[in-house]
Symmetry: C2
Subunit: 239 residues, 2 copies
DNA sequence: CGAGGGTTTGAAGTGCATCAAATAGTGTGG
DNA sequence: CCACACTATTTGATGCACTTCAAACCCTCG
């Protein structure tokens, strides 16, 4: 019988570590610590020494960088199941961006040296990581495309479509996962623009908006509006 | 004595394969073919079956995708030394974008199955690839940042800085590597905007423009103008 | 109830896109 | 070597999407 701890089972649920064997996950989760972090907490900032990387179990995490003149560039906003901080592996053990909790989160803090060690000896893990990195790369290039070719209402519609089950039939209820202000910056626009673009989206696609609750009457109508300026066809979630 | 062929020596010059041993490079370059391609040639399009990946020896290659409504999203424009098409490894052996030659190029066509095979058995290669993927990821996130925070003249200045040796002293001559129209789309703007933004850049930073020849009087002045809206400090090339 | 953030609305400004046309450059055949 | 055709680039005029600044509104939570 293999022994097993709580953390390795968390790892098993991620795409990155799902394919590894149980022993590898045990090795990866040495010194793992569960951490509860409340909204607003900064986990690390650009340039910090990186002794760990993190797994998100619940909540939302913002990754960002700051410019010389005080602006903020959002790198990504991560949901449960994602890993972050692991790229310090390739950056000389320093974080290349800052991380902040934007919705109360359960995190697992994992040892970066353990990951590094495992990576050099475990080809299965390295291949899984390559696959994950390729997905990041693809997602980022889609993000660039969206910023270039979609207007504000389309970007919002596109995000909504990515937050729901794209194959669901009939009306769908969607609850916005975090602040509208943050959604706006996630999509590269101002809060005011987000607000106005959302009402435009409503009038164009018949969605119903009640605060953070969105009701999508017709997914296909929303897709027709949002996805015409995109290179992926409509059900784009499963690629 | 190790045997050696021409192609493996080309591979040795790339960051991706530089750390592999000579035998691995020999295995990777089986069935390698050198190919001359002239400006305008399409090498493959999104969704094509992918039997090879490519190494750029000279010239420039454009990677792009097309949207339903006929627009083009530029993914990247690649100089000599870069590999492309290798991501088909992770995409079920299909290219996830299209590739076109934009300046006459010497290419080496390499076997994708050979890479896949080598990757599964050669951890050094997998780690090198991870490092390369991380760099792509970083570059892309910088690209997103630039599009979000820099205005058109700054983006041009930033590109110029990345095309030169950032530590050089005194005036520098820079020859634009390809069409201004293409540079414009590389930077996510229209040709007209590029033209106007370039003259704005001239008046702001004292650069001298004669067609495709750019003379940079003061690198630091250019950097002061272009890099203030960016999260990297100035010499950003060497990271 | 009242304070404070999040959100919406209004009015005005800016940067880039678009359309149109002029100009410069480049390669061709005579 | 020149005239022509064709493309790349620039310039001008106008429009639109998004931003910015300002103020009102709303909602939640002590």
């Amino acid at each position: 019988m293999t022994t097993q701890n709580t953390y390795s089972s968390f790892l098993a649920a991620t795409t990155l570590f799902g394919e590894c064997d149980e022993n590898a996950r045990m090795r990866l989760s040495v010194h793992a610590i569960e951490e509860l972090a409340t909204k607003g907490k900064t986990l690390f900032i650009t340039g910090d020494q990186a002794p760990f990387y993190y797994l998100v179990r619940s909540g939302w995490i913002k990754l960002y960088r700051e410019t010389l003149d005080g602006n903020q560039a959002i790198i990504d906003i991560l949901p449960a199941g994602q890993i972050f901080g692991e790229s310090a592996l390739f950056e000389d053990d320093h974080y290349s961006c800052s991380a902040e909790v934007i919705e109360d989160a359960k995190l697992v803090r994992l040892s970066l040296p353990a990951l590094k060690q495992e990576m050099t000896s475990n080809n299965t893990l390295a291949l899984a990581m390559l696959k994950a990195m390729n997905r990041y790369r693809h997602d980022q290039s889609m993000e660039l495309e969206h910023r270039a070719l979609q207007n504000a209402p389309q970007r919002i519609g596109c995000l909504f479509l990515r937050l729901i089950d794209q194959h669901a039939e009939g009306p769908i209820l969607l609850h916005l996962p975090y602040d509208k202000t943050l959604l706006a910056s996630r999509l590269g626009m101002q809060p005011e623009t987000f607000s106005r673009a959302l009402s435009k989206l409503r009038s164009e696609t018949g969605i119903v908006i009640k605060g953070a609750a969105i009701q999508i009457e017709s997914v296909s109508q929303l897709a027709a509006f949002a996805c015409s300026a995109c290179s992926s066809g409509f059900p784009c979630a499963d690629k």
